[in-house]
Symmetry: C2
Subunit: 175 residues, 2 copies
């Protein structure tokens, strides 16, 4: 089963995180691979280490190199691309291993949209997902081809956002 969380609104990564918790509660094993930003490094990271969730049940791989071309990013584009390729390779290995019940590819939609990874290559990897496993693809601007192969897709649409008012990111909310 493939799930896509996309759109410009808040809640994509947190919805995936919620799915991870739900799956963990049902005794399932969850892997998250980050393709771009480091959202999962903070509150979530502290949570999983603080409450000692065993590594065999939950694993987080930070394969991304941070935001691309925004927020002062000065990393050459090919470095971001290299990181994206590496993340995709990890995703392929994880999907083929059959070790994980739920695999979250965080911000892979963005990585595909920014051409850090090849859409077609990603689609080929998604196809290898065993039918009883779940794959979640997050990030804004999901390629149409990702939505086409998905069983479930939600657009998180921004109605209102405090950044519009110039409010800074809040600890425990945005990170």
């Amino acid at each position: 089963m493939i799930i896509v969380f996309t759109g410009n609104g808040k809640g994509k990564t947190t919805a995936a995180l919620g799915q991870a918790i739900r799956a963990l509660g049902q005794g399932k094993r969850v892997l998250t691979i980050q393709f771009v930003k480091g959202n999962w490094e903070t509150g979530e990271g502290k949570f999983f280490s603080g409450f000692r969730i065993p590594d065999s049940r939950f694993k987080l791989i930070k394969a991304g190199k941070g935001f691309v071309k925004i927020l002062g990013d000065k990393l050459p584009f090919f470095e971001h691309k290299k990181a994206g390729q590496k993340a995709l390779k990890l995703a392929r290995v994880a999907i083929e291993s059959g070790k994980w019940d739920l695999i979250i590819l965080d911000e892979i939609n963005v990585a595909a949209n920014l051409k850090l990874i090849k859409e077609k290559e990603a689609l080929g990897i998604f196809k290898k997902l065993p039918k009883d496993r779940v794959l979640i693809l997050t990030g804004r601007n999901a390629p149409k081809s990702f939505i086409k192969v998905a069983d479930l897709a939600t657009e998180m649409k921004e109605i209102k956002h405090p950044f519009q008012k110039g409010r800074p990111a809040q600890k425990g909310i945005e990170f």
Copy 2:
């Protein structure tokens, strides 16, 4: 800060759950009050009990009486209404107590839309939220007045859903 997750798509409750995890990871205290359905009873419930998150850090109150008027619900409407009133009272006490950093009122949007609770009464309670605390309101059909007082609002819009194809709810995904 008031956050609204609404819309007909998947991800509203799981996004709130993700926020809860993020907040818990940052050392904050989280209370969830369920107004309608029992979504949090299953995977999430097992997670929080299985990994021994202390009660002082995370508390879940199931104040709802299940789905209203769908999925074979035969409970008289006034019973649902009574449960809604009780949940709202608990919300008021929790907000006024200042004990919780994050309070999630799960499905309160639905409760307001179905007139289980009075919109105006709820708005009066939201107003009492201390500025450094966070309130999340989830559920489809959020009243416009809730979005108006919110700092952040996301519409989870369904693009694709497996129930459309007659697929049954899956353990670890829908519950």
